[in-house]
Subunit: 445 residues, 2 copies
């Protein structure tokens, strides 16, 4: 386990926009299709987050009250996976950066805390959000408790019904959970009460409530630039911890990518080093074969939500009305990808690959039995790809240095592991026909 001294703590988030060879295309207003300005976002976000969304400064200072909360669980540990290396018989040196130690059990806490903090500066007393797998709702609920802000979470109906522990955890931290579609919003009432819901409906409900009340704003847990910015604390710490471990040249940085914030948080500081020529790692995003946004989607302007209410973002997309197979990595079931990650992939700076979920759970099981950590189903995608690379290194004899982003623990997802152990888990890669049908819904811009 590699830690950092007080004097080595990260004090600034890193903004990759400052170093990208070409600027990312701007988001467009869904009505006018003109570039979105800071004013358009005012009803939903506080000014500090809006400025972070558009800034081109290389570094943004982390406010003291946020750093104080970070200190409760940061630096998150960087581990060398020695037992797993031995089991695989690989000469590769495998490191994993583990965000599961955070209060919410995932990287989501890193952005929930600053988001709540900035809102609290403006007298906001209530935040609304949606949650699918539940990690984001948990993180926002915890952060809200710290700053005496109320937190209301619209949880996708199917998830609400099947994962009562996740709802309880949000409530333990003080948040309120509504099954979506709820009877509290017009967006929800448009659907029957027993509808299984979707992330798109839940977003609409949370946004509707936030837009109607002066003291209420909305918070988003991935995709946007400011969210990715907050997550860069992961990669900044990892670089310093690797230096302490004596590693100055990483060969591969690998993380799972759903909306893209976990991946970007680890990857962007490495991308800075790559662009500066100090290191030359391959940076690799892993997604599920049933929701292969980067590997099979198109790089086009599309909506962030199903209803088409959000700005149009230039990103890899499968189409905003795409409904992925109900795989267990709920956090990876998103039709789009963060515009900054999409842009970097399109520029050839970052690679992507897609894996079937059973291979991921197989790797997760092996990892648990050697390293003692039950990875979230999302994180197991990074493990499975690292395993492939480590086995290739075994065959080639190369002493590769592999760094894995382990975004969270899977202790509330043991039902998924049970399904895998019981042989009840199947792969469901996206078919060409379904892909074509989904892409047909992307608007012409």
């Amino acid at each position: 386990m590699f830690t950092l001294d007080e004097s080595e703590q990260v004090t600034h988030w890193y903004n990759v926009v400052a170093d990208l060879p070409t600027p990312p295309p701007p988001p467009l207003h869904p009505g006018t299709r003109e570039p979105v300005g800071p004013d358009d976002l005012g009803p939903l976000f506080p000014i500090e987050l809006i400025m972070q969304e558009v800034t081109t400064e290389r570094y943004v200072e982390i406010p003291d009250p946020v750093r104080e909360v970070y200190r409760q669980y940061r630096p998150s540990p960087l581990f060398r996976a020695r037992r797993w290396e031995q089991r695989l018989g690989t000469p590769a040196r495998i490191y994993y950066k583990y965000e599961g130690v955070s209060p919410a059990g995932s990287h989501k806490t890193n952005t929930a805390v600053p988001q709540v903090y900035y809102n609290s500066l403006h007298g906001i007393t209530r935040l609304t959000t949606e949650t699918g797998a539940g990690q984001w709702g948990t993180a926002l609920s915890y952060a809200a408790a710290l700053f005496d802000v109320q937190c209301e979470v619209w949880q996708v109906g199917a998830s609400f019904d099947t994962k009562p522990q996740r709802r309880t955890l949000i409530e333990v931290f003080g948040g309120t959970v509504h099954r979506s579609p709820s009877r509290l919003t017009e967006s929800g009432k448009a659907f029957p009460e027993d509808h299984s819901g979707s992330l798109g409906i839940a977003i609409s409900e949370a946004v509707e409530v936030a837009a109607q009340a002066e003291d209420t704003k909305y918070a988003l847990g991935s995709v946007l630039n400011h969210v990715l910015l907050h997550q860069t604390v992961i990669g900044e710490e990892t670089l310093r911890q690797l230096a302490k471990a004596g590693e100055s040249a990483v060969d591969l940085v690998v993380g799972c990518a759903g909306g893209g914030s976990n991946f970007a948080g680890l990857a962007f500081p490495f991308l800075r080093e790559k662009l500066a020529g100090t290191q030359d790692p391959r940076i690799l995003a892993v997604e599920p074969s049933s929701c292969p946004t980067l590997t099979r989607g198109e790089y086009r302007y599309d909506f962030g939500d199903t209803a088409g209410l959000t700005p149009l973002m230039k990103m890899y997309t499968l189409g905003h009305d795409f409904v992925p197979s109900p795989i267990h990595a709920g956090g990876l079931r998103y039709h789009g990808m963060a515009p900054l990650v999409s842009h970097a992939v399109h520029e050839g700076l970052i690679d992507a690959t897609a894996l079937d979920q059973t291979e991921c759970f197989e790797a997760g099981l092996e990892f648990a039995r050697t390293q003692g950590i039950v990875a979230a189903p999302e994180s197991s995608h990074a493990l499975a790809q690292a395993r492939r690379e480590a086995l290739a290194a075994r065959d080639s004899g190369e002493e590769k240095v592999i760094v894995i982003g382990l975004s969270g623990h899977g202790l509330l997802e043991l039902g998924a592991y049970d399904a895998f152990l019981g042989g009840r888990l199947e792969d469901d890669p996206l078919s060409d026909a379904d892909l074509a049908s989904a892409l047909a819904g992307v608007p012409e811009v």
Copy 2:
């Protein structure tokens, strides 16, 4: 968060027997009622553990392979609970030592690893054990995976039926789980298959299987001297971490006590300092009011199991056929208490108190919303007592230093928190009549 450098790592377990003013009474053979010797334990335990059970050496070196596994999660973090202090408005400085970061999510890993390691030295290929709440079965399953030993766990039927996640976690680590009473043993077959089981029955099944096979031994997760010895790594680290925090005089050390190993692991190194006169902390064990072994039990020879097959141990006991109320802190539902802890309490070196579970969950909720950790229901007993002391310090204005042993996380016990949040949790303190009835079963020795 206070950590330790590589050179400050704990290298030896501490044996409190070397420093106790009077020697603890020996265990007695259940048949002859003569003191038990090392030979009597040979069928169940490897020689190293038997020697640790009876040693009077002050320090026992931690073997390298065990230290290597410890390094994966140790030193466990010591935190200052600043936000909770603020919420309580107390001048007390509250520290908590958190064992929930271990692979099994509790302190149990600390003894599971050396127990499996010593067994592996003697060609043992299978270990059997029982589990109630499930923490111990999880820890042994994980440790067994590391040393390529099979692990079979008999889980109390009621727990097996209501906590499928716990069974899954044991299986993820590679262990096998049997619902107890099983059809695999004579002890199990004595009960109907749908019987809800008990820790007593599960122990009998695991012991029966271990006694019948050459390559199989049994492992116990608490109560015995060698188990307490392994846990002292907790208190040794805490003393060093407190020194780094600038605290050389602790006023209160508080932990929950079920079988006693978590409590002793934190407390015994502090007791050494107390006996040496370098510090003078009050050392306080907290137990549930429904299973008040130390506060209302009698200090007598009694059996460790329900069936009366184990040696007779001099300990505080409620009677070996006592069945406690089904409170959620499953790890605190034991009729007896570790002989070493019992002896220290009887000698007046350690105090004890009992609390109702609703007060404990209330403290657990407050702790989660400030410190971001969902404590195990067992650990919440230590939190509730610390809360009382911190509020008393607020009223008296005393700058007390309080150290809490937080034995594990409660992420697999969210159903208990849900019951508390929903107002469905009741207190059930042991009645005088039930106590008298249970004590009537203690044998005359």
